[in-house]
Symmetry: D2
Subunit: 436 residues, 4 copies
Amino acid sequence: MTAFDEGLLSPATAGHDRLVCDAAVLDALVHAERALIAAYLEIGMLSESDHAVILRSWGGGATASDPMIDVASVVEATVAGGNPVIPLIAQLKNRAPEALRPWVHRGATSQDIVDTALMILAATAVESVRHSLTDVIDGLRGLAERHGRDVVAARTLTQHAVPMTLGTRTETWGSGVERASTRLAALEFPAQLAGAAGTRASFAAITGSAEQTQSLVRAFARHAGLAVPAGSWQVSRWPITELGDALVQTIDSLGKIATDVATLSRTEVGELREGSGGGSSAMPQKQNPVESTLIRSAALRAPQLGATLHLAAALAVDERPDGAWHAEWPTLRELLRLALGASAHAISLAENLRVDPGAASRNLAITGGLIVSERLGIVLVPLIGRPRFDELIASAMAGADLGDLLRGLPEAAGLDVEELLDPARYTGVDPVEEEG
Amino acid sequence: MTAFDEGLLSPATAGHDRLVCDAAVLDALVHAERALIAAYLEIGMLSESDHAVILRSWGGGATASDPMIDVASVVEATVAGGNPVIPLIAQLKNRAPEALRPWVHRGATSQDIVDTALMILAATAVESVRHSLTDVIDGLRGLAERHGRDVVAARTLTQHAVPMTLGTRTETWGSGVERASTRLAALEFPAQLAGAAGTRASFAAITGSAEQTQSLVRAFARHAGLAVPAGSWQVSRWPITELGDALVQTIDSLGKIATDVATLSRTEVGELREGSGGGSSAMPQKQNPVESTLIRSAALRAPQLGATLHLAAALAVDERPDGAWHAEWPTLRELLRLALGASAHAISLAENLRVDPGAASRNLAITGGLIVSERLGIVLVPLIGRPRFDELIASAMAGADLGDLLRGLPEAAGLDVEELLDPARYTGVDPVEEEG
Amino acid sequence: MTAFDEGLLSPATAGHDRLVCDAAVLDALVHAERALIAAYLEIGMLSESDHAVILRSWGGGATASDPMIDVASVVEATVAGGNPVIPLIAQLKNRAPEALRPWVHRGATSQDIVDTALMILAATAVESVRHSLTDVIDGLRGLAERHGRDVVAARTLTQHAVPMTLGTRTETWGSGVERASTRLAALEFPAQLAGAAGTRASFAAITGSAEQTQSLVRAFARHAGLAVPAGSWQVSRWPITELGDALVQTIDSLGKIATDVATLSRTEVGELREGSGGGSSAMPQKQNPVESTLIRSAALRAPQLGATLHLAAALAVDERPDGAWHAEWPTLRELLRLALGASAHAISLAENLRVDPGAASRNLAITGGLIVSERLGIVLVPLIGRPRFDELIASAMAGADLGDLLRGLPEAAGLDVEELLDPARYTGVDPVEEEG
Amino acid sequence: MTAFDEGLLSPATAGHDRLVCDAAVLDALVHAERALIAAYLEIGMLSESDHAVILRSWGGGATASDPMIDVASVVEATVAGGNPVIPLIAQLKNRAPEALRPWVHRGATSQDIVDTALMILAATAVESVRHSLTDVIDGLRGLAERHGRDVVAARTLTQHAVPMTLGTRTETWGSGVERASTRLAALEFPAQLAGAAGTRASFAAITGSAEQTQSLVRAFARHAGLAVPAGSWQVSRWPITELGDALVQTIDSLGKIATDVATLSRTEVGELREGSGGGSSAMPQKQNPVESTLIRSAALRAPQLGATLHLAAALAVDERPDGAWHAEWPTLRELLRLALGASAHAISLAENLRVDPGAASRNLAITGGLIVSERLGIVLVPLIGRPRFDELIASAMAGADLGDLLRGLPEAAGLDVEELLDPARYTGVDPVEEEG
């Protein structure tokens, strides 16, 4: 057996994707099947001893994955039926004593198990991503503590605009991450147990009543560690698209940080540097912003993956679609992987980011004071009028010293020119005070 | 002047996109500028009379749009600066008496106005979409009242699977729409007023304090009819992507309905028919599901538009990006348009959908009773064992009468064969009861 | 080591993606490094014996892959530098005798090796896809030979429109596949050997001249089995996007077939059936169009992957971009995988597709002859005028027998009503004759 | 009537999209209908006088558009049938004398006209785009003539890597544009004339033979100014996707240039500046790279539009799909618009780009000579070994003067240190020579 993907082409996620690898998926599929027999036990249809016998036959405990089922054997047989549950059930049934086999996967459809398993996987992965985001935010706070008052150039359309504090920038970064984390926290991870076509008819037939069916679904969800679904979502795919959207939003928020870091790490800018920049043997002077690069590579890919999930939702024809559902699996899993990888890289990015205050000061001075031109306009235009102000700025842009020009204005005699030109005095409303 | 797009290639939205057309955008931009002078009035920096003079000079009342500014004149001048606010301000300033011109757009940046205007537009459009969704849901409820108990074939992977009620299907449709509506209702539409680079430095300089700046922002938001922003979101674009995601989710939910309707309207299926199917002069027998078609065309386009918004968010470099922000405008506007159009079409689709119970019954019978094979298995396998059951089904698939086969089983002597084969007795747990 | 992806969630490609798995990528990377030392040998800078010593130290022959380098060891070290070549070179250098190590990767940059390796991989995979497409076309021809003259309903906007032959449909399918194959055949697969920033300065310094550099590049390309590049394409990414576009086009053409097959396999339509439909243990009557489903799942995913490649191309900033390049690798590889999987499934789909002429005939009759209404209009309107014709059609739609209606028309006395109503006489211009 | 889109939110295209505006679309639709009657004339079925009467009734000459049909009246009626051709034909028929009305749109289907019209539009727009690309290439050549030998820093992963000439960079830019232009030039623009469901049955019935049908199609294509189609492409959509791909590739190639220009225009880099940078009234020191910004906004949107076209192609079910076809129209048109706008902006970008050689030199010196570290390694490692070389570089990175360090090496006594450190001596193989 050769694995298709061990991460060779995915440095953005390598080492961070264990929670969503094929073995974890297989685990979650078995977990879902286990939850089903546990639910039959709980509603009193399966005896404790029969339940224990089946469980034991599967070789696993209540929580451990089954080490006896290998991915490859399932993959090989997965193509014929178009999904991995069909061969998995065959293996699970084969292990159980013949008399108990009917209880395996009883009343369920492949989609119940795949959807539930993906939600199990997603819930775990999202929890991990959220832990990472918390660390990212902590890292940014630490950065703000050390350098939040540093004055730097704010840039719009690539050009120096006005001064700002580094704290304002990290606040912007953090607010995006926090918002994404909030979205992740608000996600619902419903179990799926609705039978062949979402009607739950099989369960009603097996359990004998709608009430027992409800109890079964509730027990199943609890054993799967998931929310009780309001109904079938086999072809109402918002649990998938809302999850996808929140993951993309998460990666967006990290991509924004990474994009800024990469930009501010440019050789000419030099205000920031990753703690562990990637080197180059041929060009030892280079300090590549590798983590930003990898996060950005994820950010460039994620939105289109999210779009695929939406398309699948919109095209979920009938009671199970002919392709749209299948398109979701690898797409959602890759999004989870990217979120895991990008958030993990963002932690070390945030924690180890180095600031070069000297470079920031040098950059601030590039425009010879014109970085506060907006402030000058607010103060001077009322005193000298727009035309003379425009002339003054034009002189400064042509090379004249701005301080001299200001000190030469009779109308500005009462002004503290040094203060007026000090970028540190025009950094805006501190976002921390704002909260107070 | 020739308009680029009057809807000739967009029948999915034609007649439903007035709220987000260029004139409405221009209106919203002026609305934002009006909110700014109203805010200065409110915090006591602009006198009532000066405020009134400016307003009057713009030729509009407190709420009406300015009919004197035409879109074309702004468009022509929009390219040089790269956004429509720059030429708009020039026009607005020119109209005001010279002494009051400094109060126009005071302290603001183009992005404050564009972002605020797009949120004004979006809030209105989303409200309209939500009204439409309510009507869609009502339409679906009406349909369920008339035909909810009709028994129809549930289909998975294009094949008849089990029976279901039409009510279960409309419930699925409605739940997706309701979820989308909930998402729309939860959206935040913050105003933007953060100045040149998101620091609010200009406002602090103009108003003299952080507190006054806060008051100004609050007043601005209220006059714009928007939420007070927690901070600048000039480069933290979740208000845009969350809006985009919710719009795509909305269109997904309508796309699912349209896809089902189109499929169930197929000549061979014939269970559903749009109330006002499009005809064909050359082929008068045709009853095209035009509204489903148009909704589906929107659903195929929306996800990729949503992806563009995410990319713009992830690439929002610096304090204003060099292209990512500009990519948002037409993309977000087109998503709003598609949501308006798709939801409007969905109303008449839902309200006028015709059900052909005869076709549904005919279809249910196609498999000669095998549509309840799952139920037969649940009942018979315990009685006759899996091998004999499989034989029985094979005989039925080869053409034998299923009723005869069942009646010929000694073990099934006690069973009510008619009841067992009746699709109406295997439609599952009624979703309405479930709630009870 | 646990593999991330062995195919568990990718039944569309499982069993068909060996050519582009991580081991194959690693192989291609080593192949590229081998081509480089072979090129130095060829231009006379590396002696035959030294070349042989290095090759032997790598444990591989001229063409075989190196079994001593395992993917996992490279993956683990790949994150630090952000690409797999850096750790690979370390391993390759370590094996070579110290004196010869400078010849390993000499003058090259990681991108030279990754880009070249991906082109090696792609060239092989595309060749395989083209073989599959030839088989698909052959399969469709066989189908046309058996059933090309069968008359079936043509459908537009889901409704029966006019009759057509099945041969016209397979011709449409085949023409799309042929076009895609032509596009694949026209692709260029250039090697990349341009050094640190695309200038080839290192090679000029090492070889001593521009001419020798050219010779080196030519030799490298030949040993890699690729085209000689016109120049560096490190940040001019059309070889990647043109490849991506052709792969998406390929999958589109298969998706069209799969979509038609799935639709025409619907229980109510039943004109087509996959040779080996996937069954369902719970619903044994089902014959799921599994291969169509899997191909469609690929077709729903591919376009967005292609879009990511274009974004990466457009954002290829500087002489190597900070993320855009990295986003290409897994995306391009996944597209190759989908094309391999979809085309493999399309072969058996095409070869084994079963036609049910009885179902086709039954369907043709559903509209009671109105499927030839267009023909009737062409013939009758000149005779009886549009108003009477419309009346006649309305009567037929209301249930009257069309033959009787026609026979009752005095003006139509000379017409052969049977012939006029025969769908087989209105199937259009045969595409095969058209060529003659 | 209020136009939906006059360009207010599309500065990237405003002023450049006349060729593809709704009026132009309407024109092209009428052009297609005109080509059809001309084809009937040409094959001898319509008399010259009747043809002239119809033409005259439409109020237009052979080539001019019909000024009497206004877009709005068509748009209003477009929704019912789902496409603009149905109401257009009604208007065209109404104008013609009753006896000649059957010749209007005779035998054709809406898709014939829409597809043909979009190809007419596309052919014209693509020609215009190609003219622009030629001008862009000329502009880049002019730039190369003035500054091609300037030595600048090549950057990889945001960091200075090695020196290069500006000519190498413009060569890379130009090669991407040329490749895209070649792709555009190779496009096929086939007419569509295949009737209700692509079979041409109506034309065979009307003309009486397959041969006459072929003649009709050929004449139609010639009068439409398009290629004769090999067959129907109503549901084999490669003419659309290949067009879309080439447009996206075009925009990619311009996006790459714009991205580099925007980056190299950064305040800290300052090597490039747009000829007519956008200003800011509040921050007069700013020289925004507006054209790069607008081109980039197009480049961020185009790939997802291209993806939608592919989806539509893959989902082109039946003989005319229920939504996929309709999704193409606005999407393809927007891509044409973006290509027109981006290429127009790229001309002035290329022609007016200003180079600041002083900034380039300053930047080159930032690393204190380490920008040629790769060359130093090639020369020195053989002389002093890797460990001592690494030490030397580390000293330089710690601040030591690289020239002094080199001059202090006994082994380097014979080297010309000035030459060795001169970036101009390590710019690589000149791409222009390469061709010679």
